[in-house]
Subunit: 65 residues, 2 copies
Amino acid sequence: MQVFTVQGMTCGHCVRAVTDAIKAEDPAADVQVDLAKGEVSVRSQLASEQIIGLISEEGYSAKAT
Amino acid sequence: MQVFTVQGMTCGHCVRAVTDAIKAEDPAADVQVDLAKGEVSVRSQLASEQIIGLISEEGYSAKAT
């Protein structure tokens, strides 16, 4: 499980945007978003840098924890 | 122009959700959302109560100003 700190997510739409962006690249990914903590946990074959890139493309600042 | 106070909108996705919900019912509607103020301004043939209903269905609390 890779865990990322993500800034800027504010609502359920944001949760869906981040989740969908990762699942579009890896449909088998398990993505859990904790909106209150600003944390995104991902179980996937994708590289950490790629996940950060996908989240960033949605307009959020992300870094690995 | 009808102006509504809307609570709960936090981001661009919320702005789009509210705008799209109103335009789905009246494609000719002019919808302006001020996210910072929590205000939605609508120029449309739709009744105020109908607009409030559409916004509420998106998950936001709305009332006419």
